[in-house]
Amino acid sequence: MTDKHNDPRLDDESRLQEFRRVAKEVAADAPQLAKIAIEGLIRDHNKLFDGTADKAGRAGRQSGNVSELTAIATVKPGGAERLRRIFNLTGGNFDGAQRVSTLHDMRFVFFDDDTRIIFATTYDGDWDTYINDFATKIPGLMDLLFANVEGWPGIDSPEVKDYIADHQIDAAGWFVANPQVTVVDVRRMQRMETALNDFMDKMADNGGMDDASRKALAELSDAVSVPEGVDY
């Protein structure tokens, strides 16, 4: 993996050429449809929504503000069953995870006859930034989830960062639709959507608007009035 300094974004000419060269090699024997599909992978992107190919601190990939963590570990005997009961209890809601407010998603997948687990998550920022905060704010939840995994040192252990990094595998490929947007941003945008619509309702009924207000409102309407597909 390369770092930010020698891995320019997709619209960089040399990188684009390199991408085309590899795409051509890969697609050499593919039917025309596949060639078109690969070309589609490298079309110009809207810079506003660009991802990056950075590292998320010690392990994992980072794209813009968003990072991925995939870890595989051995489950203690009976651990899968205990964890399943916890997951069923929560019914897909993790109060602690919601409170953290950097977690986009988490998934727990058992395999090899319930002897191993894949833990995969998408989150904002670097993976270890808030680990000390978890250790003092939600130690119970972290230990409840991970105590069923072999070798878990405990969330308050100085070794916990090493433990996680040792079990992590970087994703080979990873796509993020909104790499610039954090969980906190999404919540704010949802609040703003509601507030903005309320505001526009009031303005729609406001007959006595001055010119500056009318102009600002017209610009606002222009920016949001045409249905737009997802441009990434």
Binding site: K55, Y130, N132, V184
Partner: protein
């Protein structure tokens, strides 16, 4: 009453649970007012020579015993990981340090967001290539006292062999203790549990000693990572050292561009810092500076943002509110008590002058941002990533700290107001990083252990 007088009044030896006579005095001692001092960086070429110097310097390092009493001058000693290696510490000890400290500050640039004009390749030579092995700091009440201790240290250095002095930097400020931008600084300090002093009015509760002193219990209930053996780690702490060049002229120009007169400029500056130049907090004096308030250590830190949830008085993005939210609600699950730091910054260069413009920024003004914490390496990486070079924790997206943030493209600063917030554009990097290192500040017994090569005879 002076800062120290205020501390002394609140000190009670019966409350002491720490081994003050083993902890370096610099960790707990506040700067004198006024203060002068010097930082010296050393490089160890020969392990035995370096250890001999450490052994002799250890005799000049006062402990924290009586840390609220007056002392005319004191010396502190800190060592980087490269320094510990150069002093010949065994591998087992070297590898027992936390990873970030082992790697050193330059190698941690990605985690610290030290990019572009702050990147390690642009740093001063003393901080490049893990050159900085030992840092000596002397704080003194006046030039004569500084000289007295400096001469002692220099005499030890001159008779040492295999140690090179790679840089010295003198600093100082008058009794107003102002930073290069003319603002009183290092006002807010955490209260360390077990050090014998109760929190000041308005200060948060005392913070668990293990957040500052290795071997003690931290806020998580257990000690944080500590190097081995015990004699090396216990009663030590970690130090973050970052030298900044302050672009006072660029800051003045920015204020001039957005404020038509002195009063408007001072007001914008106060919104950006969170305090007026006297040190008076916006929260207690929203509309104008208040010299008496700023100079009163019993009052100038006696506030929270409880009645300012919208940031109408002190903006959420103000430097001071970012660095110590004082219980403000944040968007992300955060334990504010584990991100507190003991600040020992030192200012250098000419005093602030309103008339300086960008053309006058010659690199001669600045400050050594120095802080102490048992997890200093984690704290600075957290601060740099989350509280300084982002706005996510404040619901402000990508907005950065207006004073110490890295602004490769001109940034903006949001000032909440009614009926609608104002955004000021054109923030640049007003404090540029010139170098830095992660240092370990050993206990006095650990200094002696290193000095005599304790691992050779006692293992």
């Amino acid at each position: 009453m002076s800062f120290l007088g205020n501390l002394r009044k609140r000190f009670d030896s019966k409350r002491v649970t720490l081994q003050l006579d083993d902890i370096q005095g610099l960790i707990l001692r506040a700067r004198p007012e006024p203060y002068v001092g010097i930082h010296a960086m050393l490089h160890v070429d020969d392990a035995a020579g370096g250890r001999d110097l450490i052994a002799r310097l250890a005799d000049h390092v006062p402990s924290a015993k009586g840390w609220t009493d007056d002392m005319p001058a004191w010396l502190g000693v800190a060592i980087s990981h490269a320094g510990l290696k150069a002093l010949g510490l065994p591998d087992a000890s070297l590898k027992s340090f936390p990873l970030a400290f082992q790697q050193g500050m330059a190698a941690r640039a990605p985690q610290l967001r030290d990019e572009g004009e702050n990147a390690p390749e642009t740093w001063e030579p003393a901080y490049q290539d893990e050159n900085c092995h030992i840092a000596l700091s002397i704080f003194a009440q006046d030039a004569a006292e500084l000289d007295r201790v400096k001469q002692k240290a220099m005499a030890e250095l001159e008779s040492a062999s295999g140690v090179t002095l790679i840089g010295t930097h003198e600093f100082g400020a008058d009794e107003q203790a102002k930073n290069p931008f003319g603002y009183r600084d290092s006002i807010s300090q955490p209260t360390v549990a077990g050090a014998g002093v109760e929190p000041n009015d308005g200060d948060e509760r005392a913070i668990a000693a293990g957040e500052f002193i290795l071997g003690e219990d931290s806020e998580a209930g257990a000690p944080v990572a500590m190097p081995a053996p015990d004699v090396l780690g216990r009663n030590g702490s970690f130090v973050v050292l970052r030298k900044y060049e302050s672009r006072v002229g660029a800051f003045n120009d920015f204020l001039r561009e957005h404020g038509q007169d002195d009063a408007a400029q001072d007001s914008l500056g106060a919104k950006m810092f969170g305090r007026w130049r006297s040190g008076a907090p916006l929260t207690l004096s929203p509309d104008q500076d208040d010299e008496a308030l700023g100079a009163d250590p019993g009052r100038n830190n006696d506030f929270t943002y409880q009645d300012d949830a919208k940031g109408l008085i002190c903006p959420h993005s103000a430097h001071m509110r970012r660095m110590n939210p004082r219980g403000s609600s944040l968007t992300i699950l955060t334990d504010q008590n584990i991100h507190r730091i003991i600040r020992r910054s030192s200012t250098f260069g000419p005093k602030w002058d309103r008339d300086v413009s960008a053309a006058g920024d010659q690199g001669d003004r600045g400050l050594f941002f120095i802080f102490i914490s048992a997890r200093a390496y984690d704290t600075i990486e957290f601060l740099q990533q989350e509280w300084i070079n982002r706005g996510n924790f404040l619901d402000l997206g990508e907005e950065r700290d207006p004073i110490v943030g890295l602004h490769e493209q001109p940034g903006r600063f949001t000032i909440p107001a009614e009926p609608v917030r104002k955004r000021v554009n054109g923030i640049t990097t007003f404090n540029r990083l010139r170098g830095g290192e992660y240092m370990f500040m050993p206990s006095i017994s650990a200094l002696k252990w290193i000095g005599r090569g304790g691992w050779q005879s006692e293992s």
